[in-house]
Structures are given as structure tokens and as C-alpha cells.
Amino acid sequence: MTDDSDEAVWQRVLSGDASAYGTIWRRHRDRVFRHHLACGTPAPDAEDLTATTFLELWRRRDDVRFVDHSLLPWLIVTAHNVSRNAARARRRYHRFLAALPPPAEIPDHADGVTDAHDERLRAVREALAAARPADARLLAMTALEGFTVRESAAALGLSESAAKMRLSRLRSSLRALIGEQPLTEGGS
């Protein structure tokens, strides 16, 4: 019987079976893609960021953490970091871009599609933008992706109690900003 867990497939990649990386890609591509969409990235860019996330996964291969033999929580943390980096790059060129005539088409397709029927998602995005990076990672894992606090803490290398404390602190500090939208309704 073959072991099909992410951890087993990852071991095959590490021992030289590069094609097994394709298995990891196919298994988690869509979920990572949707994470980038949920963060407000338009679809074509989200595809690029998804590819970047998997490149980054390999670049940081010595640091990978598995949660219950799954790579997904770690991948989502990586996706979140990639997404923030991309946002940082956009901000850097913001002044230049703002001086140009606006593009003819409405640029942010993802905003139009998702925000219309998801007030909560918008609130979460605002909270993500306002939170400190470490807290934002935790929030993305729980509020956006629905991982439990235990799973999120394990992927982020935090203790479960530390993660709970951060989330509770975050909830009270953000209440003023985004009102009473439930923020941290992960699985637990």
C-alpha cells in the first residue's frame, strides 16, 4: 500500500522525484488560488501569485511544517506572505501609477464579484490590512480559510494558547474598526 499523504509525497520530491511536485500542485492549486482571490487579487494575477506561492514553497523547503501530515496550512501561510509582498510592491509604485490615466476597463474584477454578496469577507479584508503581519497571518488562516486555531497555530509555529490570546486581542482591537462582523470563526 502506498502512503498518499502530503508528507509522503513531499518526501518523494525531496529524494529526487520532481514529478511528485506536480501531485502537490494539483492537490492544492485551487485552494491557494481561492485564497488569493479572497485576499482581493483579480483572477489573472491570482494565478500568477499561486505559481509564485509554489515556487516559494520550494525555496523555503527546509522550513516546511506539516499539520496532521497536510501541507495545506503551510501553503496558505506562504500564500498569505506572497500576497502581502505583492501588495507592498504595488504600494511602492503607487504614486507613479496614480499619475497615469486610469485603465479603460474596471480593473478589479474580484472585488466586483465577491464583495457584492459577502459583507463579511470585506470586513475580514479590512481587518487583515489593519492587523500587524503576524496577527494577519493568523487571521487569514482562521477567518478566511476556516482552519481551526490548533491547525493554524501549528502551521505558524505558535502554541495554541498563544494563538488564542492573539486572536482575542485582535478581536477587541479591531471591533472599533469594522464593527460587529464575526471575525474569527474558524473551526474551533
Binding site: 520530491v13 525531496l14 529524494s15 529526487g16 520532481a18 514529478s19 511536485y21 506536480g22 500542485w25 494539483r26 492549486r29 485551487d30 488560488f33 481561492r34 482571490l37 479572497a38 483572477a43 491570482a46 494565478e47 499561486t50 505559481a51 509554489f54 515556487l55 516559494e56 520550494w58 525555496r59 523555503r60 523547503r61 527546509d62 522550513d63 506572505n81 502581502r84 509582498n85 501588495a87 507592498r88 510592491a89 504600494r91 511602492r92 474580484a110 464579484v113 465577491t114 500587524r132 503581519p133 503576524a134 509555529g157
Partner: protein, 286 residues
Amino acid sequence: MAADFTPERSQAIEQALIEHVSRHPGRGRHVSRTIALLVSGALVGAGATASAFAATDTTPPAVTGATAAPQGEPTPDLPDAVVAPAGVTPGTPLVSALADPLAVTVAADTVVPLTERPDEATHARVIVSPTGTGSLSFGTDPGGNNPSAAWSPSEIGGDLTPAASYDFPLDASVDALYLVPSGFTGTVTVQFVTHVPTRLGVNPSGQTFGTSGGPQGEPDLIAVIATNGRTGYVSQESLETASGGHVADPEEALAWQEENAGTTIVLPVYESDGTTPIGEFQLDGP
């Protein structure tokens, strides 16, 4: 969610990823990094040595050779590379200081938050000045995959106590500096800086030359300081072979170490033309 991944693009990306992974396999990296630490001369630049201070007003501290780049560093979002101005070795980043430096006294485990930083900051320059003997692990990886430096009694209290310095790349994953002393006491200074990469030079024979470790990859001729103190270049190939970077797995590394134990390898140092000799570069064997 309405959108799905374009099937053709997904397939193309999958192929590209598999190719990338097979070109950069998981083994052998630790081996070459570890062995590279045995270099007894000094590589020029690499964003962390005294030469990087040339472009700032900061006085260059003496730098210990104990700080090697750890694995899996964050990737800063660097500006486009510019041509190296006169007097700067190609490939050496131009460094400018942003905001005021922050100094902390360290005697126990300390976490310095790095979240409040200018948008243009690409690196956090960390300078460690010891007041007592001991070692300090310092870096931005909460898991502890960080460089460390150690000071012996003979190094403390002299006229020039050697400081250790490292420019930690910053990206969104970095939010703190972790300082873990063992026996160490001293001061740690943090200064946010911007690195603007400079382009590698190309000599008339078409070889690239410049400092090692930059974003454009390794040059054909790597800048070093020769034993006579002059800056010149050794061929990347000969340095790689001499430092055991060609070994592919732990068994080969062991064999290589046995074969070369106790030897000193001398490499010729050239001008940037790759042919005019100006000195020698020495490496201690394993």
C-alpha cells in the same frame, strides 16, 4: 467562488514547477554552505561585509567571519539594479540608511519588533557589539534558523573589539528580530536600510565579474580580497571546486573532507580581465 484556474495555464505552471524542482534538488545545499564557511580569506560584498558600509555614513565595524547566510531567507522586494559607480565592486549593493538606528542592550532572550519600518526598507542591518564573552544567535527566523557569532576572552576589552554585522532581508513574513544569547552581553543596533543592487560587470572576454551572492546569480569571476590586501577576482569554477561546492551528497562530502583534510588550497587572484594576476587567495581545507 466563480473563478477557477485556467486549465492550460495550470498545466504549463505544473510543468515549469517540476522543471524548477528538478533543477534545484533538495540535497547538497547544506554541504556546500557548510564547507564554504572554511574560507579563510574574505569574499567581497555579499551585502553584509564592511564594503557595504562604503555607501553610508556609518563607520565600518570589523566583521567576524562567523556569520553565514542561513537557509531559506526572506526575499526582499529590491529596486532594479543600477550600474556600479566608480569605486564600487560590481554586484555590491548600494546601501542607504533610513530612519534612526535603534540600540538595545542584550543580556537575555530579546525580541525586537520590526513591524514599524519605512516602506522602502529592504533590509534590517543588525550590528552586534559585545561587552563580554559568549555567543549570540541573531536573526529574523522565529524558528531559530539564524546566524550566530561568538567572542573569546582575547577579543574582548582590546582597542578594537570586533563587531558582527548582518543585513537581514525583509519581506512581509518578517516581523521581529530574535536575539538569543548564551553567556553573551552587549549592544545590538538595528538600522533599516535600502539595498539598491548594482549590475555585475562584463569583461572583454564576456565573463561576468563582481560580488558573490547577489540577486543576479554567481558571476564567472568572484570578487575577493587577496592575501596581499588587494581586491581582485578568482574564477567561480575554481572556488567552487576548491571549497567542495561540487559535491552532491553527504557520502561524497565525507570523502572530499577526508581527502583534503589539513590542506591549504591557493587560488590565483586576477584583475577583472580574468588573466592579469595580482595576488593569491587561500582556503583552508576541511
